[in-house]
Symmetry: C2
Subunit: 442 residues, 2 copies
């Protein structure tokens, strides 16, 4: 389990002045990873680390041999166009690089002149999906979301009997995952209109969001070799924001008996920055199952895991419509919640995923599932916030929404904040809905 | 749609004598692709094409510049350690290479001496998964399987109302796909024992097979750009055999509401050889929906598609237990069926998968779902063959089986055969069950 060390000291000061700006997501205590290049350039994509409003270019740092030993090897691995090689090196490598960066970016550091030459302003950068995602798995770790949505799809049977025993998950589509800024066409598909006897094909009418966290796997496990719960977090490289766009009308008609498919596979948007578990260490929060709930089966439980608890990551969903954009309105906040309400932890996701011998590989992505909190205004999807599309949400300028309309942009934000610790932010995860194609092609 | 051309002529004779042996899977009319190297060597993996009991080494053919023009470029693309680059070149490239190979392998061909130098005996080869599989999707295209298994999981509601409208599918796990010869540990997981109020963790007790075909995507489509039904087959590189090993007890407890997950992700075995749609052209079979069934929605239907029909591929499942192996028994045939009974075609799978804009990529794999035929002895899974584990199957030597036991090997075979056309075979897809790990690790 990550313990607090010198990299977490809230008194640390960087020679990068913007790292001290109030409300920055990227102080010297954060140091998240992304893949970037200069906007509109033909430069090679490469790994970078955020500090204030700058990016430390890992390829430049490796070329200048700013770091030596394990940190230098990690920077070299992080120079590639995807972070899989860095992820595969394992936790000791990530930690060595974090410590070297933390020391080199501090006021008075000997490496300042060299690292200064490695900085690229975030304002000049564009980002790519940070890893070659071999497999993407989406979990369902919010009991509140499972209950809310279960009530809409199965009024008589909202929370299924397996929920409090099994960290439910399913395989998702990796090819359509894009990075913040993704714009995608409203999906076409089959739906069964209310009261109709036969389905129709056409554009989705109930396009929704799902507020999630994405978990990037670092070191993998061999096929046939489960990961024990006490070691599970060692396999986690870090966390990003994830919007699991969902076509509710397509989902309702297709999902039985094999689960959601085309209702999800048209687009999934993630934030470019991956925040490491080490950066999040100050934000561990105690976790206790509600009174009367069963204790997890032994393979999903151990003392160290109970002590590690959950993570208190603040989450927010914002919506900006074309009309609001035109009128100069700020985005409207649709919900606020925290990751600490999740029923199953990161470690339980990893251990359950591998209990059958399934092999996780560096760069694999696990989604948390929609992170709805205990009250309805903390729900992470429109279908919950609007009671199944029946109570529209009011927006600035007099508009309202049940589901997303063409041109709507959705922004997810995440951050950790508390007295006595540095703020750790996740940046933005933004996506925009484009109109559907005219008709399914023939 | 592939039409018959000179490569299909059953009178063609190759200078490779074994291509004429009765019952060979690999006459000159087949020419399937695999990735191989010499067994136990440290040679590079590279593409190869089967002819009789030999393999044409595409890397050697490219190095010797046996072919020029598009066929030469295709052979070069096929020289890599995965076939993705060849797949991405599209149907004209595969066709050019097939035609050049067909001509070069014929008796009297000018290329005989050069190609002779490119042959590697299949007996000396080992195989790898032939493509980097970005995403694996499993469909559910046998209405007979859907009905049989639906009856066991939901006796009151076997075939769900969406089945005859939606080519049901779900995302599968790509990382645990292995090639014929794969041996895997019996999975551990959560199950709810009959009559129990609480689940237990332990080794799967109802380990099953699923007889499927795997469909490799060649050229992909852009995100947001659906593939029309009339063009869908142009995106199919070819077909292999696929065993979707299934842990039925884990499946029954985990599958609601998001579908099968750990009950499938521990192992999936495919045959090494990919048979092209062009090789299968003589085996098109008429397909008609049963009287009274709805016609497919327009995006899943067109005249050319109706004319193309289905494919009459014979399929067989064989079982060999450790005791049978020791006593010298031949494998027992568990079932025989044909792919022509599938309710949804390859083209419908591709078009439905992309109707929402989802992007397929070269090397993606689509499973057909269990290909059970109309009668119970044509069922492609033990759960169907044994009536849910209640009527054991009798085996030579007095043994019986409901589900798989440790040490059992399962072999899938597939072939096409009829008067007036060359036999087209798929080779073998074999997998073996190893004992479970002692206990889920802590």
């Amino acid at each position: 389990m990550p313990l607090l060390n010198e990299t977490h000291d809230p008194a640390l000061r960087s020679w990068v002045a913007s790292a001290h700006r109030a409300g920055t997501d990227f102080p010297i205590q954060n140091l998240p990873f992304a893949v970037f290049r200069r906007k509109g350039s033909l430069e090679a994509w490469r790994g970078g680390v955020a500090i204030g409003d700058q990016i430390v270019d890992l390829a430049a740092a490796a070329a200048l041999a700013v770091f030596d030993g394990p940190a230098g090897m990690a920077a070299l691995a992080g120079s590639q166009d995807k972070l899989n090689a860095l992820m595969a090196r394992g936790q000791p490598a990530w930690r060595a690089l974090r410590l070297a960066l933390s020391r080199g970016l501090r006021e008075g550091a000997a490496e300042q002149r060299q690292l200064q030459a490695c900085l690229v302003p975030q304002a000049e950068a564009e980002y790519d999906v940070p890893a070659r995602i071999g497999d993407y798995t989406d979990f369902y770790t919010s009991v509140h979301h499972a209950t809310n949505i279960g009530r809409l799809f199965r009024p008589d049977n909202p929370l299924l009997p397996n929920y409090k025993w099994v960290p439910i998950g399913y395989h998702g589509r990796a090819s359509s995952i894009g990075v913040s800024g993704q714009a995608f066409r409203r999906p076409q598909g089959q739906t069964l209109p209310p009261g109709a006897a036969q389905p129709v094909a056409g554009p989705c009418k109930r396009l929704d969001i799902e507020l999630e966290l994405g978990v990037f796997i670092g070191e993998g496990n061999a096929l046939g070799g489960p990961v024990a719960i006490a070691q599970a977090e060692d396999h986690v490289f870090g966390i990003c924001l994830l919007n699991d766009w969902s076509a509710r009308d397509i989902q309702a008609w297709e999902y039985q008996p094999l689960g959601p498919f085309l209702s999800k596979s048209f687009a999934t948007t993630i934030s470019p920055w991956i925040v490491t578990l080490e950066a999040l260490a100050p934000y561990r929060a105690p976790f206790q199952r509600p009174e009367g709930d069963p204790q997890p089966l032994p393979y999903l439980d151990c003392a160290a895991h109970r002590e590690a608890g959950s993570l208190d990551i603040q989450l927010q969903v914002e919506l900006l419509t074309p009309r609001m954009r035109e009128a100069g309105h700020a985005p409207a906040t649709l919900c606020r919640t925290s990751y600490r309400h999740a029923y199953w932890t990161l470690a339980q996701m990893v251990t359950h995923h591998t209990v059958n011998g399934c092999n996780l590989q560096p760069g694999d992505l696990l989604g948390s599932g929609t992170l709805s909190g205990p009250t309805l205004d903390q729900a992470g999807a429109l279908i919950e916030l609007t009671g199944g599309g029946k109570q529209p949400v009011a927006l600035p300028g007099g508009e309202q929404r049940t589901f997303l309309e063409d041109g709507d942009s959705v922004v997810l934000r995440g951050w950790c904040e508390k007295p006595g610790a540095a703020r750790i932010g996740f940046g933005l995860c933004e996506g925009t809905v484009l109109p559907a194609l005219q008709a399914p092609q023939r």
